[in-house]
Amino acid sequence: MTPQEPAKIDFTIDANMVKHVAFLVRLGILEEEAQAFSHQFTAIIDYFHLLNEVDTQNVKPACETSSTQNVMRPDEMQPSMSRQDFMKNVPHQDGPFVQVPLVFDEE
């Protein structure tokens, strides 16, 4: 099967958009990376316009993969990972606490 040509839509994702999205997802990227991603994103997203061929009026979106039933269990306390085990992987610690840099401005 050869991929169909997607419906042509005048469409680009420029480097500024890439940098904006990168900041939203908390990824540091360099200017030249933003340029390269911009070309790739435009090609990839453009390919997705293929879906515009499909009539989805009155089609419900799929929200689950295999079962429509909720899974319930009694709300009871159960053992979980110990603090000691959890802390083994924590990169920066201050006594019993997980340490992170400043979260809020000091003002």
């Binding site: 099967m1 908390r26 997203i45 499909v54 989805t56 979106p61 079962s67 085990d85 959890f86």
Partner: protein
Amino acid sequence: MSRCRWFLMKSSIMELYNLSIRAAHDLISKKQVSSLELTKATLDHIHNTDPHINAFVTVADELALEQARQADRRLQTGAKVTPLTGIPFAVKDCISTNAVRTTCSSKILENYIPQYNATVIDRLADAGAVLVGKHNMDEFGMGSSCENSAFFITHNPWDLERVPGGSSGGSAAAVTASMGAFALGEDTGGSIRMPASFCNVTGLKTTYGRVSRYGLIALVSSFDSIGPMARDAYDCATVLQVIAGQDPHDATSLPAPVPDYLQNLEKPVKGLRLGIPKEYFQAGMEPGVESSIRAAIRTLEELGMEIREVSLPHTKYGLPVYYLVLFAEASANLARFDGTRFGLSVIEGAENVIDLYLQTRRAGFGPEVKRRIMLGAYVLSAGYYDAYYLKAQKVRTLLRQDFDAAFELCDALVAPTCPTTAFKLGEKTDDPLTMYLSDIYVVATNPAGVPALSLPCGFSNAMPVGMQLIGKHLSEDVLLQIGYAYQSVTDWHLKRPVIV
């Protein structure tokens, strides 16, 4: 020791690592070979062979030998002996293993040591199987060639200049090169089947929810399925028997009872209806792949299966649906890697927590992972949600309806696993979209949640060809039954690469 036994020992020890699960269990249960001998032979073979292949991120020698000794004690007393007791295996490195480094082949988890086992690992340990290591993969499962590992590329044992497929590329390469009797892979959109096809391995993508995902580091929570990769359908059934079933730690695992997969294998396939989806046999397929699949279909017909053409009309939309949902879910799932609780943390010079996130994620993720996280945020953002993500979820409903309609007419579908055999290293790395297109036949099953089995069915230009059987939800028993019948009259699955 009698002369006869000496010959058996000598010939089998020389090739112990080549044994299937079934053959190894036979020798172990008769006490002709110990698990320690089998495990040592496998570890030696890994240390001799893997420098050419690079299938393993971690080899756990000491742990493996200790587990083998435990298995031998179990075998001595005869208590709780299962078909997997004493059998060496390894798993894709996205499956959490207590006290054994679990990296997802990413720098962000390079030194991460889980403090708990995935449910599948606990179940295999309970059965007495021996974990020998962790397999290389595309970083976080994002790739189709195993070239996106942050550590090293894995080579296809059939031709070291070619890719093993992805993302469970290390697992497929290890199984075909006899580095472990079986593997657990993970399939989000072909990641078990595609490398199985490229490496001449039998691999099963299970029904979504058939096998617990607890302890699997998530890529796409609504697609991810753990499954066995092994020498043949019989061995896949043996492993599935142990890992399948509901798990209170995974609310999406299904309560349906687990059938006796092994007992079911021997049932005749005569009269079962096999559908050929016409959309999977179109221009662009490598001629040697198509001729192998056509020959396999004739074999299945000779076994008494009824062949009929069916249609899955939305097939060409499978790829965009798959990637759109993948980007969105992966973007959300990978938000947890932020340098605060586990994994890499680049804190030097960070003035606030945002700096910590930006620096850590920049240093920790490879380019394909960054691409997909950003694209996921883009397709979920306020102005584009309806046009991309919601649209994809609607077409996903239509993809599922295609399968539902087809399974009214047949018991299983047959198709090529991939349109080509394994491609050359570096051939597709510069163009992500071209790489995505290699998944064209394997991606539609995951949005639908249905199971699929990839089986060796021939060679094209000296590289293996895989055929996939796709079934309705929870029909692993039927797929394995057909696969077993096919492998009873063919020997493609027995062929092994010569590693120079």
